[in-house]
């Protein structure tokens, strides 16, 4: 996911360095990824691990020295769990016209769905953020926060104020567990809401693609948005039908090391990862197949994600139900991602975890299969542990 972010950053002229900040424990895969990215994009990229989960803003304050090293003009802050076309250059231009500490990227959502995001009330002429509420319970505004920001170095001062205030409040509390730990800063609630209307926060609106990636199902929607974007930016990445190759419909990405049988039919919106084997007569539609998976002959995979190293047997059918936003409404966004409703599992994308084995001729419909599971029969609307 973050390769899209890194790629977008690398396209901003004058980009100095990319820092990844998180609580995630780094492992071999991450190190290799970072090395490969550095070589590809010719930028130093580092991972800074927080000592404790510090909220959406705590890491920024904690690593402020690293961020400000080298005296950058400004720094972008991107949330990893968003999918966007990253109009970073446009944001930079807006920032250079009027330097403010905080510049947010905003987009529009319809009235009901805006309640799931951070709502921004802006001054239409100056684009100043007058009011900001994170996930309100009543309608505030149809402009929402994309999770992509551009801060100037002055932004760290308010962060310091919040940090110190939180520390004082934290010392007054008895039980350390209930209050967010020391050093935690929630950007949205603590900083944006507090500073809104004081001439410090401005918003830049975008009409481009944007989606939040919280659940695995929304990954499919984001994948569709990215594949659609490739038609404009990187058409060479999309697969084309060639004689002797599989039939392609719509936007399909096939990794060069994947082996796809000529009688397979792929697309639209299919992404096939490294080393995947797709057998004869396979039908893939609106799906993601991750590295090393195998789809045997005559299978049908619709609206699903097949995990790394999984195997799907012959004539099996792996099917999910798409929960995409209404395509007729350009401002429609993903709905809140709850798995259950009234005690029943909502029909959603089918997800096979890593190294799952599906036997021949069964149906896996609207189900989630946890990793390393070997199934023996059909399942519908279940979470299989």
């Amino acid at each position: 996911m973050i390769q899209h972010h890194i790629e977008a950053c690398a396209q901003v002229p004058g980009m100095q360095e990319i820092l990844l900040i998180g609580f995630y424990q780094p492992d071999e895969a991450l190190t290799q990824f970072l090395e490969a990215a550095q070589q590809e994009f010719h930028l130093p990229i580092r991972y800074l691990q927080e000592f404790a989960p510090l909220g959406t803003g705590g890491g920024l304050y904690h690593f402020r020295d690293q961020i400000l090293a080298g005296g950058p003009e400004a720094f972008f802050v991107l949330n990893a769990d968003v999918c966007s076309d990253f109009p970073l250059n446009a944001m930079l231009d807006a920032h250079r016209r009027q330097r403010h500490p905080f510049l947010l990227l905003g987009t529009t959502a319809n009235r009901t769905q805006s309640l799931n995001y951070g709502c921004i009330v802006e001054n239409p002429q100056t684009h100043e953020v007058l009011h900001y509420v994170e996930k309100p319970s009543t309608f505030i505004s149809d402009i929402i926060n994309c999770g992509i920001y551009l801060f100037s170095p002055e932004a760290l001062k308010p962060l310091r104020d919040v940090f110190q205030r939180n520390q004082q409040d934290g010392q007054l509390e008895d039980s350390p567990g209930s209050w967010p730990g020391a050093g935690t800063i929630r950007l949205e609630q603590d900083v944006f809401s507090a500073l809104a209307g004081q001439g410090q926060i401005y918003v830049h609106l975008t009409e481009g693609i944007w989606s939040q990636i919280k659940s695995a199902g929304s990954a499919l929607y984001a994948s569709r948005l990215y594949l659609g974007r490739y038609q404009i930016t990187h058409p060479e990445r999309l697969a084309k039908h060639s004689p002797g190759g599989p039939r392609i419909r719509g936007n399909v990405y096939i990794h060069p090391t994947a082996k796809v049988a000529p009688s397979a039919v792929l697309g639209p919106n299919v992404s096939i990862g490294k080393g995947v084997t797709v057998g004869e007569g396979v039908r893939l539609r609106e799906s993601i197949v991750l590295h090393g998976a195998t789809l045997q002959e005559h299978t049908c995979v619709l609206h699903s994600i097949v995990g790394w190293g999984s195997t799907v047997g012959r004539w099996a059918r792996v099917e999910g139900t798409p929960n995409d936003p209404n395509p007729n409404d350009p401002r429609a966004r993903m709905d809140s991602e709850s798995l259950f409703k009234d005690g029943k599992l909502l029909p959603a994308i089918t997800i096979l975890g890593c190294r799952v084995r599906i036997p021949a001729e069964v149906l896996i419909l609207n189900s989630i299969v946890l990793p390393h599971k070997e199934l023996s029969r059909s399942f519908t609307n279940q979470i299989i542990l």
Binding site: G281, R283, R314, W315
Partner: protein
């Protein structure tokens, strides 16, 4: 029709005497019948007696046991047999609502079961009775040829696909008809001209009150006559309102013409028909009625028969017993003597509920146990189960009729005109009708695919009935007794679970839970 009537009036039904009928084909009018009821066996009201035509024709306003009016029809055959002419009444029931959506297109007796109309399985078995040979599943074993010693004609083997000539190709798999074989075929009738006790062909008249005769005439003829049973089909449809209870009286006269017993059969039943044995059993004990019974695993779902082990005399019937009483149930096939007719009231009654219990008490009813498989194929689920049992039986009795080869698993019956693609997996327990096309990479298990259906590539079907001329798309998954009526189109990449689709529908969305698609 006139000819038929004339023929019937001329000759006596009983004696296997010389047959002389006007018309190109010889026949001894042995036959009849009627369109009536679920009359005799499930009681119905015979409401019309077509006296003016002097034909044994009855139409029932049939009330089945449920008390609802059903346009029923039953057909009767009379069979010459060494001991005298036996007649048979086959209750072909009413609208066949349980087997919908298939029966929305075709009357139930004409729905193909294992590539042969349901009715024909029984008719062939009946036609074989007189040759004295054992009847195999699905019909007869010998050809219609003249037995020079005994002087009568014996029936031909059933054909897999109508055009093949039975005498040239006893297994019926030869393909297009050899024109020179017309001679053989025509020879069925040879020797009947002139005097002499030869050749009694069956005359079969079917009267459908539920379906217009014009619609069916050609169809029934096309279906039954090529099987070369020497059966002549006549059709009639009664449009006038049903009248009074005359037809029952009619049937009484008709069936008691001779003292010979007659068969009463339920057409929904499939088994290894032991008609010869039944006739012998009936004559042996000499009482009024014999019932064929079969052993089942869960008898409490049916009506149970309690009988003596050695003689087979029935003591009583018990409907759906709560505790285990007996594991034998009524298989739906009887041999009755004409004396039974006196017990039948002119009311909508059920013969099992009112007549048989009385007969049992009087010691007049005997049970003969059926060996081998038995199934009531009136519903899609049981239709498929019955198909599995039938194919299994075919494997033992006539394995050459089953298909084998790459991609064929277990018991599979394939019409010679069907086409199967590459990399398929067909079977076990599949029957593919004439003109069926199965494309590459299709997996079919436990299904019946009727005439001219087209299954496109990479689909997976289990426990389905695919109706005539259906088109099933690519990568479709159908399971759990999905039934497609005639001419249904299923779009690509869909999932049908227990869908019951009415004819001429186009399915564009998956059906994840069993329901009816109108």
């Amino acid at each position: 029709m006139r000819q038929l009537i004339g023929a019937l009036q001329d000759t006596s039904l009983a004696a296997p005497g010389p047959a002389r009928v006007p018309g190109p084909r010889p026949s001894a009018p042995r036959l009849l019948l009627v369109c009536g009821g679920p009359a005799l066996a499930s009681g119905g009201e015979w409401t019309r007696w077509n006296q003016s035509r002097s034909v044994w024709l009855a139409e029932g306003a049939g009330r089945g046991t449920a008390g609802r009016a059903a346009p029923p029809w039953l057909l009767g055959l009379s069979l010459p047999s060494p001991a005298g002419a036996m007649k048979a009444l086959i209750l072909v029931g009413g609208y066949g609502t349980r087997l919908r959506p298939l029966t929305l297109s075709t009357p139930k007796p004409l729905v193909d079961f294992c590539n042969k109309p349901i009715l024909l399985h029984q008719v062939e078995a009946l036609a074989a009775v007189r040759s004295g040979d054992r009847v195999g599943p699905g019909g007869t074993k010998d050809g219609w040829r003249r037995d020079r010693r005994r002087g009568w004609w014996e029936p031909v083997p059933p054909l897999l696909s109508p055009p093949a000539c039975p005498l040239c190709c006893p297994t019926g798999r030869c393909g297009p008809r050899d024109p020179s074989c017309e001679l053989h075929v025509a020879g069925v009738g040879e020797g009947n001209e002139g005097a002499g006790a030869e050749g009694e062909a069956l005359t079969l008249a079917l009267f459908f009150s539920a379906w217009p005769a014009s619609h069916l005439e050609g169809e029934v003829d096309q279906v039954i006559s090529p099987f070369q049973l020497g059966i002549r089909i006549s059709m009639s449809h009664e449009e006038e309102p049903l009248g009074t209870a005359g037809p029952l009286a009619l049937a009484r006269d008709l069936l008691s013409e001779t003292a010979d017993p007659f068969f009463v059969l339920n057409s929904d039943v499939i088994c290894d028909f032991p008609f010869q044995a039944m006739a012998q059993f009936h004559r042996h004990h000499g009482q009024e009625g014999s019932i064929l019974v079969t052993k089942v695993e869960e008898p409490s779902k049916y009506g149970v028969v309690v009988c003596e082990a050695e003689t087979g005399r029935i003591h009583r019937f018990v409907e759906k017993p709560q505790v285990f009483v007996s594991n034998k149930i009524n298989a739906g096939m009887y041999v009755l003597s004409p004396a039974v007719l006196q017990r039948i009231q002119l009311q909508p009654t059920s013969i099992e509920k009112e007549v048989f219990p009385v007969m049992a008490k009087e010691g007049q009813l005997y049970a003969m146990e059926l060996q081998g498989f038995w199934m009531d194929i009136g519903q899609p689920k049981d239709f498929l189960t019955g198909m599995c049992l039938f194919l299994q039986s075919l494997r033992q009795k006539q394995p050459e009729r089953l298909c084998s080869g790459p991609g064929i698993v277990g018991n599979v019956l394939v019409d010679p005109s069907a086409r199967i693609g590459q990399n398929c997996s067909i079977g076990p327990n599949v029957s593919l009708g004439p003109g069926v096309v199965v494309e590459d990479g299709v997996c079919i298990r436990r299904c019946t695919v009727l005439r001219d259906a087209h299954i496109r590539s990479h689909s997976w079907l289990e426990s389905c009935i695919v109706g005539w001329r259906c088109r099933v798309g690519q990568w479709v998954r159908m399971e759990n007794v999905t039934v497609l009526g005639e001419d249904v189109i299923v779009n690509d990449e869909l999932y049908l679970n227990g869908a019951s689709v009415l004819p001429h529908k186009s399915i564009g969305e998956s059906v994840p839970e069993p329901r009816i698609i109108m």
